[in-house]
Amino acid sequence: MNPTTNQLLWMYETMLVIREFEETMVNVYLEGKLPPNIQKGLAFDIGSGPVPGEMHLAAGQEPVAVGVCAHLKKEDTVTGTHRPHHFAIAKGVPLDRMAAEIFGKVTGLGRGKGGHMHLFDPEHKFSCSGIIGAGMPPACGSALAGKKLGTDWVTATFFGEGAANQGSFHESLNLAALWKLPVVFICEDNKWAISVEKSVSTAIPSNADRAAAYGVPGVRVEHNDALEVFAAAGDAVARARRGEGPTLIEVKTDRYLGHFQGDAEVYRPKDEVAELRKHDPIPALEGHLRALGLLNDQADAEIRSRAHRRVTDAYDFARATAYPEPEEALYHVFAA
């Protein structure tokens, strides 16, 4: 299945938005966290600044998100991970309310209660979790609901290669295969689970081979490339929509930044990232678009400036809006 022009341009612009959102966050996150404005003796203070707490960024992993979400409708569901921004953006979650949530503002998706690892947007049918492997069981449930409701909705659930060794992976794939649920399982193989390399955590080289344990198709995408992801995901989503059940896709992708911001990456070979960045998927797609004649300098500048504005606006919104009142802490334990 070849992407349409719209899909190609959407993937390109969305990757730009994601990249800029993440790279902006690198700096925003550092605000207020460095000496001398923190406790004496500290090198960094995770709890300070406008965006406190852990921060997992997905720069480099854009192809996984856009290659899959290019096939999804608004009614389709996505469950993401602790590293969720790229998925949320690709699924169409409004950037401003997402940014506001990450800033802990009352204008955020969860009124500031969830934070970066807990983005919930029922309208765009996106959710995520800070617990590794935890997105897969609910994905089975949303797919089951879609089936029960007589729709052709599909659920895409993303997880890291580290998560593929959690019990929930096994249980969910079995359940989805058994009940022929319209779920696409997408494993982001960025080689690392914090400091633990895939070879130190996983008994076989490719998680795609685990699909056979459930009698479902398993596909490995060998390059961190939006078009390759698009092709594999197209088949899987179509299969799911036809009611033929789940597919397991594994995508080789690259984590350009630390596991979380502040990670000194002592465990990682020094030149690894520089090497990875040579295969940046954004210039790759840009080149492809230009070769197809779908992009020239002017169009590119327009797209880039629109992407830039979207990100800037979102951050501005997040900064400008208010924190929730302390009393809010006691609300929403239960739905009204």
């Binding site: 009124r111 959710s127 979790s129 089975c140 949303s142 409701l149 929930s168 969910s172 359940l175 739905a335």
Partner: protein
């Protein structure tokens, strides 16, 4: 203008199954998932007869994958369905607790109220038939400790039906704990008081309203589930010695009817908490603390007393199990001791 209400005597298992069946008829979004909920009708009968009525699309036997299917309940509820999941014994929660307490219980809050999760998670509790350490626990106190779950622990068929219907209609995650020894199963001894008249029509019993099962003036026994019946028997026994014990059935732990507890203790001046969960760091401590916090307005005539499993795993052997799960004679003893002690 009294309307005739058709009632029959039902066991608690039948009452629960009836509640689920009525709600399934009323609302096509309600469905059931669990191990052996189909042909078997639920190991403790909570889904008896439902497969025959509603078919395998709505009464779904699952693999032994509690994480997957309880997580799936959360996912399905987020899409507007109203799943009922059965965790066969509460003792098994450890294989799926993350889906329960980090997701089902928290997603509504973390979404600022934007995500509604109308899930009923029902599960069997309790000992008394020598099923040993991994099949006899109560553990409702543990679930009441973590935020985001409503905790329902009925003591009889009437309440069970009304509370189950309320649970299914609630837009929030509800854990519904049924004690095996009051389900009225044909293969397990039970307390007769748990099998009651139950109206045929559908009705709800609200959450957070404790019930005074037996009025009394001298001492308050705060309890729930099977222990209600033991408490009533104990109260009847001490009545012969002239002690008037009030028995309060909490019915739900979250929300908790704090007022009812304080009202009764204010009246009697004496509190015994009777619990089948582990004694330490659980329900009995919470109830005692609620009273201890109100000593400015309530004056106690005796120290608080707590009965519960004394923080040992439930032993298998009959004399051992009998010793650690509070029995009627333990309650009688505690009442007498309370009456004999002073602050």
């Amino acid at each position: 203008m009294a309307t005739a209400v058709a009632t029959r005597t039902l066991t608690m298992a039948q009452a629960i199954a009836e509640a689920i069946g009525q709600e399934m008829e009323r609302d096509p979004k309600v469905f059931v998932m669990g191990e052996d909920v189909g042909k078997y009708g639920g190991i403790f009968g909570a889904t008896g007869g439902l497969l025959q009525r509603f078919g395998p699309e709505r009464i779904m036997d699952t693999p032994i994958s509690e994480t997957a299917f309880i997580g799936a309940a959360t996912g399905a509820a987020a899409e507007g369905m109203r799943p009922i999941a059965e965790l066969m014994f509460v003792d098994f929660f450890g294989v799926c607790m993350d889906q329960i307490y980090n997701h089902l219980a928290k997603n509504t809050y973390m979404s600022g109220g934007n995500v509604k999760l109308p899930v009923v998670l029902m599960t069997a509790i309790g000992g008394g038939y020598n099923d040993a350490a991994q099949h006899s626990q109560s553990l409702y106190g543990l679930f009441a400790h973590v935020p985001g779950l409503k905790i329902v622990v009925p003591s009889n068929a009437y309440d069970a039906k009304g509370l189950m219907i309320h649970s299914i209609r609630d837009d929030n995650p509800v854990m519904f704990f049924f004690h095996k020894g009051i389900m009225g199963l044909p293969w397990m001894a039970y307390f007769e008081g748990s099998t009651t008249e139950v109206p045929e029509h559908s009705y709800t019993v609200p959450f957070g309203q404790a019930r005074v099962v037996r009025e009394g003036a001298d001492v308050t026994i705060v309890t729930l589930s099977q222990m209600v019946h033991k408490s009533v028997i104990a109260a009847e026994q001490v009545a012969m010695d002239g002690v008037s014990a009030e028995v309060l059935d909490l019915r739900t732990l979250v929300p908790l009817d704090r007022e009812a507890i304080l009202r009764s203790v204010a009246k009697t001046g004496r509190l015994i908490v009777a619990d089948e969960d582990y004694l330490r760091f659980g329900m009995s401590g919470e109830i005692a603390a609620i009273v201890a916090e109100e000593l400015g307005t309530i004056s106690l005539k005796a120290p608080v007393r707590r009965l519960g499993v004394p923080n040992v795993p439930i032993p298998y052997s009959r004399p051992l199990e009998h010793a650690v799960i509070p029995q009627v004679h333990h309650l009688v003893h505690a009442i007498h001791q309370t009456m004999a002690s002073k602050v």
